[in-house]
Each structure stands twice: as C-alpha cells, then as structure tokens.
C-alpha cells in the first residue's frame, strides 16, 4: 500500500485529535488519583453526562451554550458527589472506593437512560467550526483541528498552573506527600475539593467536545473508561507528563495500528499496556517513585 505524504499527515492529525480527547479525560482522573489516591471509575460516566448536558443545552441555546455550560453542570455534579460520597470515602481503603464508583457507574448509566432515553442523540458542529481547512497540504475538518488546538491550549495552561503558580506548587506538594503538605499549612481538604471539581469539569468538557464528533449514547461512558485507564497507567499515575505521554501513545498506536495492522488493531493497545507494565511496573512517568 503506497500512500503519499498527505495520507500520513492526515493520519497523524487523526491520532493527535484522539490523543487530545483522551488527554482531557485522563488529566482529571490522574491528578485526582495522584492527589487523593482515589480511583474514580465513574470518571467516564461524568464524560457521558457532559455529552448529554451539552446535547440538551445545545437544543436550548445553541452549541456554545452547551460547550460552556455543560462542564459547569458536570462540575456541579462533582460537588454533589464530593460532598455526598467521596469526602466520606477518603479514609476508607481503595477497594471501597473502587466499589462505590462502580456503583456510581451503574446508577448513572440508568439515570441517563431514564432522563434522555435509549436512543442515541447528536449535536451539530457549530457553523463557525463547520467545514474543512487546508492545512499542511491536506484538507482537515475544522472541528477536529479545534479539538487539537483546545487540547494543546489546556495542556499549556495546566503545565503553567502546575509548574509556575502557587496553587500548582500546593498541588504538587499534595501529590508528593499530602500529610507533609498539610503540616506546612496547606488546606489539603480544600485543595482536594478544587481539584476534584476541576477534574469533573474537564471530563464534562471532553464529553461536550466529543458529542458533535460521535454520537451520544448511554454506554459512551463505559466505552471510554478503559482507554482512559490505559492512558493513565501507561503514562504513570498522578503526573501531567504521564497523562500527555499516555494519551499520545494511545492515540498514535490506535490510529496507526488501524492503518498498518488492522487485524491486530484491537489487541495492540492491550499488548502495549502489558509490555509497559512488565518493563516499568509503575508506568512511564509516575508522579513519585
């Protein structure tokens, strides 16, 4: 199969776009884990909620209303979850946390079915981002470019906040050693709360952004959960660098796997995950040794 350069550019952009979508999801999950040692399996459900709220809000007030408000609504749900459940679960062991969030997956799956029905929903791409842009010698859908740019922007912003600001230093201290950070006068509990809500908002944003690209179905949260977990485990838990590396690896392996070895496409990423864990049992860039 001889393909020209344009073909590979197109595929690289596809890979990048998938990576950025996964990055939005995995960064929230990984920082929540790194900071709170909390395995939130319901993260995918928050993503699905983001997509559903975006679909409903778009029907009311157009795409941008969904885009901006869906993350806020999902963050609101995050506040409810945090104060109702997660705060009380902080002291119990990880198994209990896994179980509670597993229960949340079940519950939220059916709640979306009750509120929005079993039929798939969809959102139209806004007029501003409709169409294609000529880019590096290929024509690429504007909306996909928008996802790539937004992902990169959020990465940049997070890298700045985590690396250069006081709040970032507090979060890093919390990830390294939360007890010590608390001793130094950091209100760790408030920090947890903020990070958790922000992670939820990012998951909601990912849902809102993915909705026009894909279809909105009740099981979309369950479908995205495994890829997200793979990303953060390959990258190493708790680190921004890990989330980026994991997302890029996943996006490129998945996309180029589909092109170069279609028979292996679905096994490839799991084989890679197993290989990474055999060589580096804690992922590529873990937050702490």
């Amino acid at each position: 199969m001889a393909h020209d350069l344009g073909f590979w550019t197109l595929q690289a952009l596809n890979a990048l776009q998938l990576s950025m979508l996964l990055f939005l999801l995995s960064i929230g999950l990984t920082v929540i884990f790194g900071l709170m040692h909390f395995v939130n399996l319901a993260h995918g459900s928050l993503y699905a909620l983001g997509a559903y709220f975006a679909a409903s809000l778009t029907a009311v007030g157009g795409y941008w209303m969904g885009f901006f408000l869906a993350p806020v609504v999902v963050a609101g749900i995050g506040i409810l979850l945090y104060s109702g459940l997660i705060k009380r679960m902080r002291k119990s062991g990880p198994m209990a946390q896994v179980l509670v969030t597993f229960g949340l997956i079940f519950a939220m799956l059916d709640l979306t079915r009750i509120f929005w029905g079993d039929l798939a929903l969809a959102i139209e791409v806004p007029a501003l981002l409709d169409g294609r842009l000529a880019f590096l010698g290929v024509e690429y859908p504007t909306y996909r470019l928008f996802i790539i740019v937004m992902g990169l922007a959020i990465f940049g912003a997070l890298a700045f906040v985590l690396g250069r600001t006081q709040i970032g230093a507090m979060i890093r201290a919390g990830v390294d050693n939360d007890a010590m950070a608390a001793c130094l006068g950091i209100n760790v509990e408030r920090l947890f709360f903020m990070v958790f809500c922000f992670g939820c908002a990012l998951a909601g944003l990912a849902g809102a952004v993915a909705a026009p690209l894909l279809s909105v179905t009740p099981d979309m949260g369950l479908q995205i959960l495994i890829p997200t977990l793979i990303v953060i485990v390959i990258g190493g838990l708790g680190s921004l660098k890990g989330a980026v590396a994991g997302s890029l690896i996943y996006g490129f392996v998945q996309t180029f796997g589909a092109v170069l070895a279609p028979q292996l496409a679905s096994v490839l990423i799991y084989a890679l995950l197993a290989a990474v864990l055999v060589i580096k049992p804690v992922g590529l860039f873990p937050a702490k040794g």
Binding site: F33, G93, F102, I230, S266, Y270, A274, L277
Partner: protein
Amino acid sequence: MFRHNTLRYAVLVLLASAALFQAFTAEYFGLEILTEILILAMLVLALDIVAGFGGMVSLCHGALMGVGAYAYALLSTTAGIAPPVAMVGAVALTGAIAWAIGAICSRSHGIYFIMATLAFGQMAYSYVFEAPIFGGDDGLGGIARLDLSFVGIDLNDSRSFALFCLVVLGAIYGVSVLILRSGLGRSLTGVMHNEQRMRALGLTVWRVKADVFGLSGMIAGLAGVLAAQHIMYISPGLLSWTVSGEALVVVILGGLGTLVGPLVGAAAFVVLKHELSAVTTYWHLVVGVILIAVVMSRANGIFGWIEARWGDRIERRLSDTTRKPEAKEVLGDA
C-alpha cells in the same frame, strides 16, 4: 491465614442447607438461578483467594472463566474429545494461562496490577471475539454436559445439574481452604502483608504469586467449564471485563478475604438481580445504589458486617478483627 470460626461454620451450614432446600423444592427457573449462583460462587472463591489473601486484585478472572468455557467447548465439540478429558484439559489450560499472567504481573501492585490483569483479560476477549474458530460474536452452541449415567445420574436434568454444581462447589471450597492453610497459602499472606520481608527471608515471591494465581485460574476455569455445560452455549460476552468487575463487586460486597462472605455475596447478587430485573429494566440503578449504601456503611461487605457485629459475641476468643483492616488495604501501596 484462613481460619474457620463458629460463625463461619454456621453460615456455611446455613448456605448449604438453603441450597439443598432450593435444589429439591424449586421449580425450573429457581433451579436455573441456583445453578447460576453456584457457578458465580466458584468464580468469586477463585477471586477471593488471590484478592483477599494475596492482595492481587484481578480484573481478568471473568476472562479466565471464559477461557475455560471456550477451551472445553472446542475440545469437546470441534476436537471431539470425551467430556471428562476435555474438562481436565480446559482446567489445565486455564491454569497454565493464569500462571503465566500471574508470573508476568507479579511485579505490579495495586492499581497497576488491576490494569495489567485487565489488559490480559481484554486481549483474550478481543482475540476470542475476532478469531473465526471461536464463532465470533455469534458464539458456539451444541456443548454437551458431562455424562454421569454410569452412576445413574442424568446431568441433563436441571435438578441433578444443580446438585452436581453444589457438590463441585463444596469440593472447591475445601480445596481453597487447603490451599490457604498450606505453606503456599501462608507464604502468600506473608507476601501480601510485607513483600520485602518475605523476599529477605529467601522466598521466591514471584513464584508464590504465580502458583496461587495459577491455582485460582484453575478454579475459574472449572467454573467456566460448568458455565458452558449449564448454558450449553457460549459467547464472547463471558470474557468481557464487566464480568470480572461484577465478580469483584460480589467478592467485596460479600466480604473480601473471608471465603464465606463471597458465597453470601454471590447468592445475594444473583437473587437481587433477578428480582429487580423482573420488576424494572432499570435494575442497574437499584444495584448501584445498594452497592454504594453497603460500602458507605463502612463494613467489610455483608459478611464482614455480620462478623463485626455478632462475630465477637459468638466467638469471643477467636476474633478476626485483626485481619480485616489489612484486607482493606490491599491497594494501599499504589
């Protein structure tokens, strides 16, 4: 190490008599449910051995069960091997695969161990789903049950099959207790509590983990063989990670590291699921809420709660309270 106390014996006797009562009185659908419970109970016993006593929380036990089921189906139908031999072959194969997974994953801990096992489980799922020899999405049918007619038992009868599963489950329970009481089982618990110390004592840690994982895989494989015989039809859904997830839920719901608890959990889960799905198609919601409520009650599952509440009263001297907090901390090193 695993110990029986009066409460555990009492619950075991209670469960066994309930199962026997159900087996002799239930109508057709009741027997189906009973068999489903018994097979799930085998799977969760296998999972409790590795997760509750070795800290190896596996998300591939559903896939291992599926491997057992598919191996039995292929050996007994396509390869035309007699069912008893095919059963042994399927269990041995599953055990070997589980041993290899256990060996490869032995360096990972906590969430990484969960993810590594998930990866292997999903690999098996994808492979079975796509390879034509396994019948793909449409699955495989025409699976025969074990022929015990030479002793006058017809396993094609639902009641006999349920009783057969009950006997097998009893045997598996006995073997599980023996494994946990053996030197291997004691080493395993030692590894869970302090891997470094066990290594310093000269123990080959990865071998212990792999051996126990392999044994647990054999039990899961046997559960798969019986599941295939029970339904007489298998599909890739059996290997899906959600099956492993549900099994894990049952283990924790019942009481991690208690062996008896997961049995209670299996019965509760299946009965709850059937009762609810008869009433509403939104039964996941109710199960989810119950799950959250049970965990929020801060007990080590249903059985752990019973034990914490009445265990001492029943058995003052042989209290188990020292072990439970540790059992909860299996993910603590993540």
